[in-house]
Every structure is written in C-alpha cells, then in structure tokens.
C-alpha cells in the first residue's frame, strides 16, 4: 500500500520539480567541472586531417548556415574551424545563406581574428582582412549562391559584408570559384547541407563537409557513408572534439595561448545531464509498469 502510493505520487509529480532537477544538474558541473576529455570520433578526425593537410593554395570556405537559436551547439564549430585555418595559414572565405546567420559569423570572425592578432609579432603571424580572409556575407536566394559560386564568386557577392567591392580585395585574386576552394564546410541546423550537395557538389564537384546539430546528425550519416561529405561534426560533442584537435595542432605550432573552448567546457554538464535524463526515463518506466501491473 505504502509502496504503491509512492509510485503513484512519483508519476503525478509536478513538472516544475523536474525542471529544477535539470537546472541543478546542468549548472553545478559548469561551475565545478570534472575533468573529462572527449576523444575524437572517426568522422571528426577525417575532417580535421583533410583541412590539416590541404594544399596551401586551396582555401577553406565556411558557410554559417544556422540561426541564433542553435548558437550553443554550432558556434564553437565555426570558432574552431577558423582557428584551424588561421593556424595552418590557409585562406578563408566566410559566407551564409541564412540572413540570421550573418551576425553569428561576424561574432566568430571578430573573436578569432582578435585572438590571433593579439598574439602576433610579425605580418606572417597576423591575419589581415582582404588578404588572409574575407567575409562575403549573405545574399538570396540559395540557388544564386550555390550555383553562382561555381562560376564567379565576385558576381554572387559584388560587395562583402562590410560594404567593400569584392573585386578590389587582393584575396579574391586567389579565390575565383569552387576550383580554388579545398573544402566548403556548411554549419547548419536544417536541410541546407543537402542543398549544398545537390547544387554545389553535383554540378561543380566541390568537396563538402558539414557541422550539424545533433538533432539532425543521425540523418546525415548516409552522406558521410557515401563520401558526399568528408567527415562531419555532430552537435556540441563534435565541436568539443574538433576543439581538442585544433588545440593540439596549435600547441604543436607553438601557439600556446589560453583560449576558451565552449564545447569542451560543456562536456561535464552534458555528461551529468545525460545520466539525469536516463534516470528520469528509468524511474518513470518503473513507476509506470509497477502501477500498471497493480491495476491489472
């Protein structure tokens, strides 16, 4: 009798108590993290190695195709990719096909260029706009961007995000179309990576990879398996793994700076929260089956 009451009461508990538990489970490990390091999965390593060993004259293109709602998962990827490209001295072109992605790209560029230029002593160490990197910005519709970049990027983006005419930028002498792009990484929370495959890759054969929210990551495995994507970063965990690889690369290159890695930082909380959710499911099921058996 006593036991049944507890089980029934457990099932009827107000949701706000569960909300409170989740809040604490996530908050405490953020303030007092335990030391755990993510180990890179094969698909993350594949993308890292590809960019790491890319010929120097090939540029990295990053398409910031997500919106502020999924910033927590995806922004760390943009930051890590930018750091990687600058650390290996590849040219970078940044764009977005989502108008709401513009501000996020701008934030990431401002952050990473500041990091590198604060630690630079010579011209070779610093990153300069229009020479080492370019922020093409955004235009519409998606087809104009994805198909047009195969012909001439300056026609798609006649002016960059800041309002400069792109033909006047020295870097654009080296990045004319997809032929000069070693790999284009689309960071997205929707089906946009599939559009990149359909339009940019089918017609122009550009190499692609994607960083994607965990929600849709499982749906993108068929494209990794088919080789249409060279590796993939899945969710905050994928971001954390990439952060680790980039950090190792930077240390190897003598860049022993203290930088915030928001993905890695989150892993303690993530672990605790997964355990909590699993516990919720298990307790909920025990209560459910126990009371159902009684009712029968």
């Amino acid at each position: 009798m006593e036991k049944e009451n507890i089980l029934i009461r457990l099932q009827r508990i107000d949701r706000r108590w569960i909300y409170l538990v989740l809040w604490l489970v996530v908050m405490i490990p953020l303030i007092f993290p335990f030391k755990i390091q993510p180990q890179p999965t094969p698909s993350v390593e594949k993308l890292f190695n590809y960019i790491d060993t890319m010929p120097e004259n090939k540029a990295l293109a990053i398409s910031v195709d997500f919106t502020p709602d999924t910033r927590a998962e995806l922004q760390p990827m943009v930051v890590a990719l930018l750091r990687h490209a600058f650390a290996t001295q590849h040219r970078v072109g940044i764009l977005t096909v989502q108008v709401y992605g513009l501000g996020l790209a701008e934030e990431a560029i401002r952050q990473v260029t500041a990091e590198f230029n604060a630690n630079a002593n010579t011209r070779a160490d610093s990153v300069i706009y229009g020479e080492d990197y370019v922020f093409w910005g955004w235009t519409t519709p998606v087809l104009t961007v994805m198909l047009g970049m195969g012909e001439r990027i300056t026609n798609v983006f006649p002016i960059d995000y800041y309002g400069n005419r792109t033909e006047t930028l020295p870097i654009m002498q080296h990045i004319k179309n997809y032929d000069d792009i070693g790999i284009l990484v689309t960071i997205a929370a929707s089906a946009i990576p599939r559009s990149w495959i359909n339009y940019a890759q089918t017609q122009f054969g550009v190499n692609l990879s994607c960083g994607i929210t965990a929600v849709s990551a499982a749906d993108f495995y068929p494209y990794v398996n088919s080789g249409q994507f060279i590796g993939m970063l899945a969710g905050m965990k994928g971001a954390a793994e990439y952060e680790q690889l980039v950090r190792e690369r930077m240390v190897k290159n003598g860049m022993e700076w203290v930088l915030r890695n928001r993905g890695t930082e989150a892993m303690s909380s993530q672990t605790a929260a997964h355990l909590a959710i699993m516990a919720f499911i298990v307790i909920g099921n025990i209560a459910f089956f126990a009371t159902r058996r009684k009712r029968k």
Binding site: R16, Y19, L22, V26, M27, L30, I31, D69, T70, R71, A72, E73, V99, Y100, L102, G103, G137, W138, T139, T140, P141, L143, L147, P158, I159, Y161, G163, R194, I197, N198, Y199, Q201, T202, Q203, T213, A214, V215, A217, A218, D219, P222, N225, S226, G227, Q228, A234, G235, M236, K237, R262, E265, A266, S269, Q270, A273, H274, I277
Partner: protein, 214 residues
C-alpha cells in the same frame, strides 16, 4: 564572482530570464519577450535585404551612369515583377502575387529535379551497392552487407501497394527493427542537442553575466 558591468550584458541576461520565466508559468514578461523577438528579427532581416540585396543588385546598378540603358530597363522590369508581392495586401488584384511566386517556385523546382536525382538517389544507391572492393577487410564487407539488407528492409516497410505477406512480411518486420534503431539514434542525439542549448544559456548567465565560470 565577477559580475559584468556592461549594460548590454544585463539587457541580454534580463531577456534570457524573461523567457525562462515561462517554465514556472505563462506570464506577461514571457509574452513581452516573445513579441519583442518577432519584431527585432524582422527588423534585422529588412536591414540586410535592403543593404545587401536591393541596393547593390538593383539601386546601385540602375543609378550608375555606366550601366547600359537596356540593362536598366531590364532591371526595372524585374523590380516591378518583384513589387507585385505588395498586391498580396490589395484584395482586388491579389492574384498578381502568383506571378513572382511562379517565377521563383518554377525555377527552384526545375533546378532541383535533375540534381536531386543525381545527388540523392543515384549517389545513395551507388553507395549501397556491394562490390568486391567492399570486402577489402572482412568487417567493412560485413557492414556493407548489413547496410544493403537494412536499406531494402526499410524500403519494403514503406511499400504500400501490396499486402505484407510472402517475402515482404519478414522483410518489413526487419525494416521496422532498423527504423527503430535509427530513430533511437536520433532520439539519443536529440537529447544531447536540447541539453546543449540549455548549457549554452547557462554559459552565458554564469559566465558572461555573473562571471562564475573561469
């Protein structure tokens, strides 16, 4: 503790808490924040549609002396067609809105058909076919066979024209097992995703605002 003195960080923090207040109860503060969001998002979009599309692709070119007159007329014709979107709000001529929609929709559909067949159907089918090269290692060979069987089983689960009997019965049953494992993978990943979003907000509240995270 190292609380931020930036007024904008405080504004961001207050807005964050306003949305979180929904967890306790639907309330005026939440409604305020929600309506504010819709307004700002649209204002932001207007900014960039104006500065980064209409101005460089239309106004600058029509205004430039170097643009040939034929091109100018051509651009103005397109802009007039685009402006037909306004007729959506004028009941008598609102059908005219279908013209710009037809131009964009038709081209997008036409452009997608050959490319999607190539990228999504042919490339995916190719990746499923087993060749002798798949067996370079016994493991990769075995996984390729499982994928092939799984794909066929899943397709047969969504095969509606005939009853599930004969060979279709065990196949579609295997299909549902594959589908459930696939959905389980999505489920686990979705849990991870949702938690990440909340961690992101706490990183802001505890880190950027209160300065509790080092």
């Amino acid at each position: 503790m190292n609380i931020s003195t930036d007024p904008w960080v405080w504004i961001a923090a207050i807005l964050t808490l306003a949305i979180f207040s929904f967890l306790y109860k639907e309330n005026p503060l939440y409604r305020f924040a929600e309506h504010l969001y819709v307004g700002i998002a649209n204002g932001y979009a207007i900014t960039f549609y104006w500065h980064r599309v209409l101005v460089p692709s239309f106004f600058d070119r029509v205004g430039a002396a170097s643009t040939p007159i034929a091109t100018k007329i051509w651009l103005i014709v397109i802009a007039v067609i685009g402006a037909l979107y306004f007729t959506r709000f004028i009941p008598k001529v609102s059908w005219l809105v279908r013209i710009p929609i037809a131009i964009v929709l038709g081209y997008a559909c036409g452009a997608s058909i050959p490319r999607a067949i190539d990228a999504e159907i042919i490339r995916q089918a190719k990746a499923t076919i087993i060749t002798r090269a798949s067996f370079a290692h016994w493991q990769t060979g075995l996984w390729a066979v499982i994928i092939l069987l799984g794909v066929i089983a899943t397709i047969s689960y969504f095969f509606f024209s005939s009853e599930r009997k004969g060979v279709l019965k065990p196949l579609s049953y295997a299909g549902i097992i594959f589908i459930m494992i696939g959905f389980g993978a999505s489920f686990g990943y979705t849990v991870m995703a949702r938690i990440s979003l909340f961690i992101g907000r706490l990183q802001f509240l505890l880190g950027d605002w209160l300065g509790l995270i080092k």
